[in-house]
Symmetry: C2
Subunit: 110 residues, 2 copies
């Protein structure tokens, strides 16, 4: 069992200093199937536009942004759930004036 | 791909009317490995104290509560991440005066 406030988990730089990730629940906690991360994206910043062979399940906590997905754009804000299937181009862009925060769950890393 | 505000997803009664669940991202959306649900627990209400052979990965959005886990109790509020391993007794009790809301991810149902 693990119970922790997200702010107690170390924020690590991801793709440079404007995107930060906290591994809230990971394989190192014994999670057998999937891992939960907390992302922060600074205003004007974005995660990389890329694809990979695993899915994302995202829940947006704070801030406003745009999902770029396979060449199209979709606006989102707090309370949005987003499913990104494997092998699809995607990124999350902070289009607001405060930090964008979201949860992103992925399959357990090998 | 799916992008939806949680409020657009139907809230279904779970364990009676005081606990409601929204299947934000499920196998019916094509999710290959795990499913994301949104829970609402009314003040004074609780999910059942039970165990099962799959894990939970939880993120608390709003409200205050207590996790009862294997006979002990742990307080939580917004921003807490909680990992419940398989086969452990647990429940989430709303001890506050507003609706407790959290995300709960589980392995894909068979």
């Amino acid at each position: 069992m693990k119970i922790v406030h997200f702010s107690e988990v170390k924020a690590e730089e991801a793709y440079g200093p404007k995107v930060r990730i906290r591994w809230l629940i990971s394989k190192f906690d014994g999670a057998p199937n999937f891992e939960m991360r907390h992302f922060e994206v600074d205003p004007g910043a974005s995660t990389p536009y890329h694809s990979h062979d695993w899915e994302h399940e995202v829940f947006v906590l704070e801030g406003d942004g745009v999902l770029r997905y396979e060449g199209r754009e979709y606006r989102f804000g707090p309370g949005y759930a987003i499913y990104i299937p494997p092998n699809k181009q995607h990124c999350f862009i902070n289009t607001g004036d405060k930090v964008l925060k979201f949860i992103c769950v992925i399959p357990k890393r090998k």
